[in-house]
């Protein structure tokens, strides 16, 4: 079931109405059942895997709460890490690991052959695995109390708005919300609805209708784009992935808010970032803060000297890249960002004064955006060779050019990409909330109506979100 499909609106209408009238405990039980039904609509057997993850971490949390001795607590943590990451590795990385093992073995002169396994990746597994891991790590660190209520814990893991594509919610943020009855105020319902419309517009119109056709046209491995086509496709992909993913996050936050729950913000005008650390404060915030708290800082963060800091950054970003998908292109993407972050740290003190002025800031934002775009080439390309070919094309080794299917489509994508990036650079600290305040209620209603109108009239609905595959 997709947020953009008509049946979801009916599903949500039922959930919303029940949540308005049911007593608190019944409401939580109903929300859990609705969340499992939402997940089962994709592939019912995988609900068992999801429930397995719930039971594992709930049980390990309880066991951890029963002892103060560091040894057993550490053993329980290791068990949780092995269980969660083991499942993730089996479903997500098994083929990747076997392919690379075969390649290595063949390179060493051994003749090894293995048929690829036909593994279906459970949707959202990367998200809920990180969510449950954060719980056991926090319990181990004694940063949060053990959750003894199975219903609350299960709802924390499976809450349907954020189950399949985030934001990655921490137990410390969500579990306290389940301790007291919550009912959304009329302002929260209204704002949740408006956020849903904004997210729907980003996903269904901007990502799927405006950007996707251009990206698919020129990122098809078999086409030979010219340099400008490769750039336009890359700008379009930057727009597509932002609108697809942040659109999902907006819808998830809006739905949760209308039900009375708060989810963390996941994006904040990332293409208005000045520098790469700023970019990661604005892009997929729930993942970057997760990686910081559970990987970068435990590795030593920036406390062990310059070289070690850069190694930590690189390692964190490489693993962050691998989290996105089992392919070398994602590893390269993560490595690219790790390198940019290291470079930024190394050169920060030599940035000339004139670059700190207004023009310098704009220049910095444009440079940051273009470096991020180069990373997107690896993220989107079908293979490493394809990515390298595209980057070479962008920098002068221009292909003969693919046939232009629709100049209108190209023009629309170019205008929307320029508008999107321009707006974020112009007002990098202005979110939907601030825009709405500036616009006032009348203009907010008019813009929302126009967004809905464009979404409904575009003719085709139901394209899955990019981040479902991660």
């Amino acid at each position: 079931m997709l947020f953009t499909s008509p049946v979801f609106l009916l599903f949500f209408a039922v959930v919303f109405l029940v949540c308005r009238v049911a007593p608190w405990n019944l409401r939580k039980a109903f929300l859990l059942a609705a969340s499992l039904a939402f997940y089962a609509a994709w592939n019912p057997p995988f609900v068992l895997l999801l429930l397995g993850s719930v039971v594992l971490d709930y049980g390990l949390g309880l066991a951890m709460g029963r002892t103060e001795r560091p040894g057993p607590r550490k053993a329980l943590l290791v068990l949780s890490l092995c269980g969660n990451l083991g499942v993730l590795a089996a479903f997500k990385y098994a083929n990747f690991l076997s392919e690379n093992f075969i390649a290595l073995a063949n390179a060493a002169g051994w003749q090894v052959s293995l048929m690829p396994w036909n593994i279906v990746l459970p949707v959202g597994i990367s998200f809920y695995t990180f969510q449950t891991l954060s719980y056991t790590i926090d319990v181990y660190r004694k940063q949060i109390p053990v959750e003894r209520n199975l219903l609350d814990f299960a709802l924390f893991v499976t809450f349907f708005p954020q189950l399949v594509a985030g934001p990655i919610v921490r137990a410390s943020e969500f579990l306290p919300q389940l301790k007291q009855p919550r009912t959304a105020s009329s302002a929260q319902v209204a704002w949740g609805g408006l956020l849903f419309i904004v997210g729907l517009f980003k996903k269904a119109w901007l990502a799927d209708y405006v950007f996707q056709p251009v990206v698919e046209r020129y990122y098809e491995a078999a086409t030979h784009p010219s340099w400008w086509q490769a750039w336009l496709a890359t700008y379009s992909f930057a727009g597509q992935i932002y609108c697809d993913f942040s659109g999902y996050s907006d819808m998830a936050i809006g739905i949760a808010l209308a039900l009375g729950f708060l989810l963390p913000e996941n994006f904040r005008a990332p293409y208005g970032a000045l520098g790469f650390s700023d970019f990661w404060r604005r892009w997929h915030i729930s993942l970057s803060s997760w990686l910081r708290d559970y990987l970068y800082i435990p590795l030593g963060g920036n406390r062990r000297g310059q070289i070690r800091t850069r190694v930590n950054l690189a390692l964190t970003m490489l693993l962050g890249g691998l989290w996105h998908g089992a392919a070398w292109t994602f590893v390269i993407w993560g490595g690219w960002h790790g390198m940019l972050l290291g470079l930024e740290r190394a050169t920060r003190k030599w940035i000339p004064v004139w670059l700190k002025g207004r023009a310098g800031r704009v220049l910095g934002m444009v440079a940051t955006f273009h470096a991020v775009c180069l990373g997107w080439v690896f993220f989107r390309a079908e293979s490493l060779d394809h990515a390298v070919g595209l980057v070479l094309t962008m920098f002068g080794d221009s292909g003969p050019g693919a046939a232009v299917q629709s100049r209108w489509q190209l023009g629309l994508a170019a205008v929307c990409a320029l508008g999107l990036v321009g707006l974020q650079m112009w007002r990098p600290n202005t979110g939907a909330r601030e825009w709405s305040i500036r616009a006032g209620p009348v203009l907010t209603a008019v813009v929302a109506a126009l967004m809905l109108f464009l979404v409904i009239t575009r003719g085709s609905h139901g394209t899955a979100f990019i981040y479902f595959q991660f």
């Binding site: 499909s5 994709w42 949707v123 491995a221 803060s289 209620p441 809905l452 109108f453 575009r458």
Partner: protein, 359 residues
């Protein structure tokens, strides 16, 4: 990964002053008013000429049309070559009467990918003819409309029948909900008319007439029958080969072939027959295909894996003589001849594969 403060969710706890139910209600009501107004405008102006139809939906609907009692499906999956070149109405006359013949194709469609998506709907006795359009088939390319096609089947995130009933029902009855009512398309044509004074669909309409049949055949009737004129038009229309290296291309093909072999084994176990056909092409287009996908490295490997179940047009005395005006697609007469010949070949192949009757 610089240390930074986590975004506080408390920001959302205080919705902006504009967040009022009246604002939300006005937004929804405004959208409905706009939709109603737009519906009236589109009905007044008529559908956008040549607006994008949804080939994925069309192909899925042709395939999913219920099969009559005692009938089996004979379906041809493939690209626009099949769309234009396979006339079920003709093929039907050359196959056993219990076959319900359908053309299930879409622009740039790869037959194997379509078969993978539709496999759960097949039943014992069904016959699938997979078109081998070299670029799409050997490189395992995904057609732009494949996701639309997939939405109608039980694949991941497929639309439920209920959802389909709602969205297709709206699209069928209200122009504003269909691609014919897309305001951006209307804007595009209005701008184009203002700038150029015409639209590209009108130019195409002077060369060919297209008739969409219910069984999936998109019949191409040439208004200009001059071979010489069509040769001129075809010049320069040859797609560029991919920028995959020859090795990469062969790797993709090898992976795809392994997949098809597995799929074929599963389907054969369920009593479904899969056949492969390469449709006619000519001129520079064919030369490009022959150079990029040498027959001995591609077609012959496929034929070796599926012996007796592959037909290349250049091996068939009838098919190799058919005219492809744009070097890649058949027009009406060619489509009729091709379909008749294909029907004959399918019947012949099925009979050859049938075990001898008990004495």
């Amino acid at each position: 990964m610089e240390p930074h403060s986590s975004t506080s969710s408390s920001e959302q706890a205080v919705p902006p002053p504009t967040a009022r139910l009246t604002v939300l209600a006005f937004a929804v009501a405004g959208a409905l008013v706009l939709l109603a107004g737009w519906e009236l405008v589109v009905r007044q102006l008529g559908p956008v000429p040549g607006a994008s139809v949804r080939p994925g939906r069309q192909a899925a609907e042709v395939f999913l049309e219920p099969v009559g009692d005692g009938k089996k499906r004979l379906v041809m999956f493939g690209s626009s070559r099949v769309e234009n070149g396979f006339a079920p109405v003709v093929a039907r006359q050359h196959v056993a009467p219990d076959f319900d013949v359908r053309n299930c194709s879409m622009p740039m469609g790869s037959s194997v990918q379509m078969l993978e998506i539709a496999q759960d709907e097949l039943r014992a006795g069904d016959v699938i003819v997979c078109e081998v359009w070299p670029i799409g088939f050997y490189e395992d390319r995904a057609a732009p409309d494949l996701p639309e096609f997939a939405k109608y089947f039980g694949a991941s995130w497929a639309l439920s029948r209920f959802e389909r009933a709602i969205s297709d029902g709206l699209a069928d009855n209200l122009l504003a909900f269909s691609s014919h009512g897309d305001p951006m398309d209307r804007l595009r044509l209005t701008l184009r008319a203002g700038l150029v004074g015409t639209n590209p669909e009108q130019m195409n309409a002077s060369e060919v007439q297209m008739i969409d049949h219910a069984d999936g055949w998109r019949e191409v009737i040439l208004k200009d029958q001059s071979v010489e004129n069509w040769r001129k038009r075809a010049a320069g229309n040859v797609p560029k080969p991919s920028h995959l290296t020859a090795t990469q291309r062969q790797e993709r093909f090898a992976q795809m072939l392994a997949r098809v072999r597995n799929l074929d084994t599963q389907l054969a176990g369920r009593g479904v027959t899969v056949l492969f056909v390469c449709m006619p092409s000519s001129g520079a287009y064919k030369a490009m295909e022959d150079t990029t996908f040498p027959r001995e490295q591609y077609w012959d490997r496929l034929a070796a894996v599926f012996p007796g179940r592959c037909l290349h047009f250049s091996d068939d005395p009838v098919m190799r003589g058919l005219w492809t005006p744009d070097e890649s697609h058949l027009e009406t007469a060619g489509a009729r001849a091709f379909s008749a010949r294909l029907g004959w070949w399918v019947t012949h192949t099925l009979e050859s594969a049938r075990p001898p009757l008990d004495p």
